[in-house]
Every structure is written in structure tokens, then in C-alpha cells.
């Protein structure tokens, strides 16, 4: 370090110092872990133990490097950068997931408040939620005839169950005390839903929403792989596999993991803002 550093610089260094002292122990282990994993993977591929290209191939493979460096290119048709592929998939998730949230929460409230309807429908729900997303694809394609609505339906049918079941459970778990307050005050239905039922069930609803966003993202990839000829990161992977561009798949998987993580964090953040868990 030179003797005459400016004030400003020393300030920012101070800031960095305190940050590092506080967060260093949180940053170093995961970085080491990831680097170690990549290193072992690279060694495995370089030594020829596996045919899977190593992580460095993302850079060394020319086609993949182009994809890495130009996520926004758009040559029309299916030939688009990974940003556009991911965005197309995200758009489907947004539609299917919104539909799942809307229907899951409404039906969940219905089932949670009406024991008879719950008895009638619960076995059906328990059965349907065990059906894997991929098994819905052919059904959706036959029923809806087109790729786009079928993909959205697969997202919907995969992610609706945790929302529905958690909402219903949240409604059933509303403490008697709160319901008694509603009864003694003779709250109108609307007042009861807005002031007691929804806020009381909100933590459960968000648990469902959070599980569902992960499932929705898993489902779209699976669904797109089966649906040929659409723009989307899932079909991109399938296409790359057919043409044996394996390092492209690796790059796409990095995109998928990152987006999945961001989606989960986003819902967790919403949960923290809207339904903090300080409630007793």
C-alpha cells in the first residue's frame, strides 16, 4: 500500500474491510465448495472418465461461447439467444403459475371452509397431485391440441396442488379464537374473508406458493422438452441434445438453476414482506 492514498480510497477500503470481516466467513466456504466441484468435474472430463464435457467447455467450445457472450441475439424462428429462450419459458411459467395461484387459493378456501366439499374432493386431489408433470403432457396435448396452452396447463396442474392443499390447511388451522371473534361480532362474509380468513391463512398460502414456484419451473423445462418446435429453454436443451451440442446443455442448465433460484428467492422475499412470521 502506498503512503499517500487519498481519503476517499481509504474510506472505501475501510468499508470493504468491515464487509469482509463480517461476511468473509459466509462467502469463502461456498466459493471454495463450488470451485472444488467444478475442478473435480473438469478433472473427470479431461481424464476421459466421462464423455460429459467439463465446465471449461462453456468457454472453449465455440458455439457455446457465442451463446454465452450473446444472450440477446435473435435470428428469428427458434434461433434465439438464451435470454430470449429463458424469457419465453418464464412467460409460460408466469401464466400457468398465476392461474394456479388464483384457482389454488380460491378452491383451497372453498375446501377449507366447507368440510363436505373437502370430503368429496380430497381423494381426487390427493390422487391427481401424485401424477408427474410429464405424464400430463400427452393428456394436455390431446386435450388442448396446441403446444402453448398445453405447456401452460402442465405448469398449472403441477403447481396448483401445493397452493390448494396449503391454503385449505391454513383455513382449517385458523385459531378458534379468531373465528369466535368473527361470530360474536357477526362479521359479514366479506369482512370475515378480508380481515380474518385471508390474513390468518396467509403464511400457509405463501408456503404453498413457494413450493409451487419451484415445481412450476421444474415442470416447464420437462414440458418443453417434450413439446417440439417452441422457443424455450427446455426445448433448447432437447434440440442441443439431438444435435450433440453437449456444452450448450451445460450452459442452459446454469441458466435454469439460476432462474429457479431467483424465482424461489423472489417468492421468499414477497413472503417476508407480505406475511412476516412474527405472528404468534
Amino acid at each position: 500500500m502506498t503512503a499517500n492514498i487519498t481519503n476517499r480510497k481509504s474510506n472505501s477500503l475501510d468499508w470493504f474491510d468491515t464487509f469482509w470481516k463480517k461476511q468473509g466467513s459466509n462467502i469463502i466456504p461456498p466459493v471454495l465448495g463450488i470451485l472444488g466441484f467444478l475442478l473435480i468435474w473438469q478433472l473427470f472430463s479431461s481424464s476421459g472418465l466421462t464423455k460429459l464435457p467439463g465446465p471449461l467447455s462453456i468457454w472453449t467450445d465455440e458455439r457455446t461461447r457465442t451463446l454465452l457472450l450473446y444472450p440477446f441475439y435473435d435470428l428469428g424462428g427458434l434461433d434465439k439467444g438464451l435470454f430470449w429462450q429463458t424469457l419465453a419459458s418464464l412467460g409460460r411459467v408466469a401464466q400457468g403459475y398465476s392461474l394456479a395461484a388464483l384457482i389454488g387459493i380460491s378452491v383451497g378456501i372453498l375446501v377449507g371452509t366447507q368440510p363436505l366439499i373437502n370430503k368429496a374432493l380430497d381423494p381426487l386431489f390427493q390422487f391427481l397431485r401424485m401424477v408427474a408433470p410429464l405424464a400430463w403432457v400427452p393428456i394436455a396435448l390431446v386435450a388442448l391440441q396446441q403446444n402453448q396452452p398445453a405447456a401452460i396447463f402442465v405448469i398449472f396442474i403441477t403447481s396448483v396442488w401445493p397452493i390448494l392443499i396449503n391454503t385449505a390447511e391454513g383455513v382449517r388451522q385458523i385459531p378458534d379464537d379468531y373465528n369466535n371473534v368473527a361470530k360474536v361480532l357477526q362479521l359479514s362474509r366479506k369482512e370475515y374473508y378480508l380481515n380474518i380468513l385471508l390474513p390468518a391463512a396467509l403464511p400457509y398460502i405463501f408456503t404453498g406458493l413457494r413450493i409451487a414456484i419451484g415445481l412450476a419451473w421444474l415442470a416447464i423445462i420437462a414440458a418443453e422438452i417434450v413439446m417440439s418446435g417452441i422457443v424455450g429453454i427446455g426445448f433448447f436443451i432437447w434440440d442441443a441434445y439431438q444435435q450433440n451440442y453437449v456444452s450448450e446443455i451445460i450452459l442452459a442448465v446454469v441458466y435454469i438453476g439460476t432462474v429457479g433460484l431467483l424465482l424461489d428467492r423472489a417468492v421468499a422475499y414477497l413472503q417476508k414482506v407480505i406475511a412476516p412470521t412474527e405472528q404468534k
Partner: protein, 285 residues
Amino acid sequence: MLNQPITSFTTEPTVSSVKTAVKQQPFLTLSGVSKVYPTKKGPYTVLQGINLNVDKGEFICVIGHSGCGKSTLLNMVSGFANPTGGDVLLQGKRITKPGPDRMVVFQNYALLPWRTAFENVYLAVNAVHPRKSQAEKRAIAHDHLAMVGLSEAADKKPPQLSGGMKQRVSIARALAIRPQVLILDEPFGALDAITKEELQEELLKIWNDHRCTVLMITHDIDEALFLADRLVMMTNGPAATIGEVMEIPFARPRDRALIMEDPEYYKLRNYALDFLYNRFAHDDD
């Protein structure tokens, strides 16, 4: 109280297990009330042969061992439970379901944790007076929080409040809708001794100013003697009933220190203790 018989001022603890032949129609009547719950082992009688008349503006405490059906008894007045036999009448009308004219202060406060103290009270005022202007409703809510000394904490949410403060909010919420009958289910049971005494005094002062009819469950004989006009003592379950009703003759407004100096206080206290721990001792105790 106006309709009290003069006998309540004699030195002997007066006890009337069943009050009969009331001249005018009483405010709240329980006649021949029983409650039977079906269980797997057959019907289980919780309460039997309950007869009680309560005058308007009277302060009644109910005491008895746990499991004797005190809560069930009050639930039949609040409307959360319906009697299996007999009638519960408020001003001649049968009680069938809960309503704001019989507001309850719940044992564990039952405040909505996602709403501030003020919003909890406002919710009740708004539900009962939908036609009043917002300004009026807000004023009512604020006045009642001030009455229990919680103006400062109006914008705090229940998790930030102490037990005593929560119970104050709960009382403010109950009183804000001007119930005809105020039902309290062991309201101070979970509070420390000092907070408890403070709240008893506040409740009594508020009751003195507003004179609603109060039914309150308690485990605490001293609390009952300080607050109530009459103390309803329950026998043990199953098939519990009202064992005796003790008149508590101390003049109002009451001063705790003065009452505790009165030899009558200890007579009544010992009488109630004798009832609970000798004549109707609980098996588990």
C-alpha cells in the same frame, strides 16, 4: 343493586340456591338449563338444573373447580353453545347464537395479531355500527383505548404488547360496542398479581361508569369478592350445577383496602373457601 333483596346486607352470608318468584321479568334468565355432550362412551352431562336470574347492570362472578362447566355455562349465554335442556333468555328472548349484544372477553385475548390495537377495536366498532361515519367510529375506538389507558400503544400490534396490555385492548374492544352483557372468561388468569389488581380496578371503574351486566369466570375468590355483586359457586362435574349463590354486600364504589379490613370479607372468603375445598373438594386436588 336496586333489585337486591335486603337480606344481602345481613352479616350472615346469605345464600339462595334458586331465586324464585321474581316480580318483574329478569334481564337474563337461565331456567332448568342442562348441557349434555355426546361422547363415545355415551352422553356426558356437563351441567344440569341450572337456574339463575341476573338483573340488569349486575356484576356476577362464577367460581368452581376446573372442569365443572363454568365455560360451558357462559358459552350458553354468549351463544357459542346451546343448552340441551331448559332456556337461556335475555330480555325474554331465547339466545341461539353469538351476537355483539353479548360481547366476550376471551381467555387468551383473541386479538388479531396482524392488526394494531386500534384496528382491533375499530374492527368491532365497524362491524356493529356499519352506518356510522368513519370519523365517529374512529373516535369510539380511540375513546375506548384511552379508557383502558392505551392511547400511546394504539398503533402497536399485539405481539408487541404485554399480556396486561393485550387484555386491556380486548376489554376496550368489548366495551366499545356497548354490549348489554359483558362476558369475561377468566380474563386475568394469565396475568401477574400486580397487573391483575390494576386491571380489576380499571374494570370496576369502567363498569361503574357504564353499568353493563357482567358475567365473569374466575378462579380467584379475592377477585370475585372485590368485583362481584353475587358469586355463583358451582358444584363439581359431571352434572355440575349451581351449588350456592353468595351475595357480596360491600358498598360501591369499592376500595380494596377498606374491603380487606372488613371482618365480613373474611367471613365470606372463608365461606367460599369452605365450599370449594371442603364441601365440594376436587378429586384431583
